[in-house]
């Protein structure tokens, strides 16, 4: 039996493995993707000072350090079941089964779909799929595309695709509909665009971002959109239908009012050979559910979150979580959380050690600091939502002890 099994070789899993191995633990990581690095692999962006952050390089640093410490990393292996043992956990995989005293789930997030007529055609893919195709596999998802859904990912990936030589004709809202809720409301989208404004290449948008009230902004939003890197971001147009016979050949769009109603008579077709759906991210917590974890539904964190505390411990003995499974944030936060998890798990092995407690507290503070320094706040209220969750966990644990 090994000390620690980790599901997910992304920034959280790799960082946790490093911290645990630095403290003498035997660690194995399993990941179903073809190479280690998780979704960090596809990330590529320019910081305001002009420096490029290359996810492939960052992932390689983590991977090399982990290997140096004796961590075993198995890629191309899927976990299909797990079971709690008296002394730990057993993972059932498409390779061999793995028994470990502690288990860390660092499975990240999956993309939330936005269903649009025609979205099952070949050529329509999640925006993350396009990022992986372009930056990881170095194949263009198409020549001319449109991105449906206005958020951090759609704007960042539009730029990444441009760098791959792809022409992005626009980033547009989905058609107003009963299931999209805020995704198709220009005022709500204006709010989230304003949180990104400080990253905009144009000083006009940067400056304007600070002054615009979302309601006013949505009303005054130009009909032809604001351009970032030459790509129009449209809050006053919506995608009605994706067209094509055997694959995508166009998108039917129409103008919408500031409150999201379609303006009759404004429909037109934009020819494209691929479409990206950008609906946001949801924690991928299925293994935590199979394990029997309790959950809390927290929209600010992206959906159903396995109940856990600041030390990344869940309510099940020996089961930990780190990274986007705990709530959607950045790769840097995932790495910081991974470190906390690795240290927490190592601390369990050793008989009371003040030094480990101090390290863990420092690592927890580092997560908060990383979050505060982040250039992009994915959602407002993340810090508060997390504090509340940890409070809930403590109450839950106390309640169990008192029975």
């Amino acid at each position: 039996m090994i000390d620690l099994a980790i599901v997910g070789a992304g920034p959280a899993g790799l960082s946790a493995a490093i911290s645990a191995a630095e403290n003498g633990l035997k660690v194995t990581i399993i990941d179903e993707f073809v190479k280690p690095g998780g979704r960090l692999l596809g990330q590529l962006h320019e910081e305001p000072d002009g420096k490029w952050v290359n996810g492939i390089t960052e992932a390689e640093k983590l991977f090399k350090r982990a290997i140096q410490l004796g961590v075993i990393i198995k890629c191309g292996v899927s976990v299909y079941d797990l079971v709690q043992l008296d002394s730990g956990w057993c993972l059932y995989t498409t390779g061999s089964s793995i028994k470990a005293k502690s288990l860390l789930l660092a499975t990240g997030a999956s993309e939330t779909a936005i269903p649009i007529p025609g979205w099952t055609l070949p050529g329509v893919m999640s925006v993350g799929a396009a990022q992986v195709m372009g930056n990881v596999h170095r194949v263009k998802p198409g020549e001319n595309g449109m991105i449906i859904g206005v958020n951090v990912l759609s704007v960042a990936i539009a730029r990444e695709l441009q760098l791959c030589g792809v022409n992005i004709k626009g980033i547009i809202l989905p058609q107003p509909s009963l299931i999209f809720g805020n995704a198709s409301n220009p005022e709500k989208n204006m709010e989230s665009l304003l949180r990104l404004a400080h990253l905009a290449p144009s000083p006009l948008i940067r400056f304007g971002g600070k002054l615009v009230n979302p309601k006013l902004g949505a009303r005054l939003y130009p009909k032809n959109g604001f351009k970032m890197w030459g790509i129009p971001i449209q809050l006053r147009k919506a995608a009605i239908e994706i067209l094509g016979d055997n694959q995508v050949d166009g998108v039917r769009i129409a103008d919408i009012t500031a409150t999201g109603e379609i303006v009759p008579g404004t429909e037109k077709v934009v020819p494209v050979d691929f479409v990206c759906i950008a609906g946001g991210l949801t924690p991928l917590s299925e293994l935590a559910a199979v394990a029997g974890c309790s959950f809390r539904h927290i929209p600010q964190l992206g959906g159903h979150i396995p109940l856990h505390n600041e030390r990344m411990q869940t309510n099940l003995k020996g089961l930990y979580v780190a990274g986007n499974i705990t709530g959607v944030e950045s790769a840097k936060v995932a790495m910081a959380q991974g470190k906390v998890a690795g240290l927490s798990i190592a601390a369990q092995r050793k008989t009371s050690s003040n030094r480990m407690d101090n390290q863990i507290q420092e690592a927890i503070e580092n997560v908060k600091e990383t979050r505060r320094k982040a250039l992009i706040q994915f959602q407002p209220g993340i810090e508060d939502a997390r504090s509340q969750l940890y409070h809930t966990f403590n109450e839950y644990s106390e309640a169990k002890v008192s029975i």
Binding site: E32, F33, V34, R39, L44, W52, N54, I56, G76, S78, S110, E111, T120, L121, P122, G123, V124, M125, S126, G128, A129, A130, V132, M133, G134, N135, H137, R138, V139, K140, P141, E143, L163, C164, G165, D245, N246, Q247, L284
Partner: protein
């Protein structure tokens, strides 16, 4: 080398030399490079349709590209339910689907 490949990239650099591989998809020969997944190799060759829906016959390609949605499942060297987006191409791989066997237009039954 074809135009769908991003061999040169202003930040990520140039791909450089890679070993050429060949594989068969639905009876047709294709070329790939070492490191390609089945999905990326086919997309680089302009093939988007990887299978058809088992009842409705509608064409399907990749959707998530990271193994979550199972839209890209194909039969590889006799094994079913293999995700094209997660499987590296190996030389002389035989990949089958049901693309040619179900009907050609969208909707309706065979």
């Amino acid at each position: 080398m074809n135009s769908m490949r991003v061999d040169q990239h202003p930040v990520l650099g140039n791909m450089g030399q890679r070993q050429k591989l060949k594989f068969v998809f639905e009876g047709k020969q294709f070329t790939a490079y070492k490191g390609d997944t089945i999905a990326s190799a086919l997309l680089a060759s302009g093939v988007r349709t990887l299978r058809r829906h088992e009842d409705k016959g509608t064409p399907k390609g990749i959707y998530c590209n990271i193994g979550h949605c199972f839209e890209c499942r194909v039969r590889v060297n006799g094994q079913n339910s293999v995700r094209a987006c997660l499987t590296p191409v190996e030389n002389n791989m035989i990949i089958e689907s049901n693309v040619s066997r179900t009907m050609t237009s969208r909707g309706g039954k065979v």
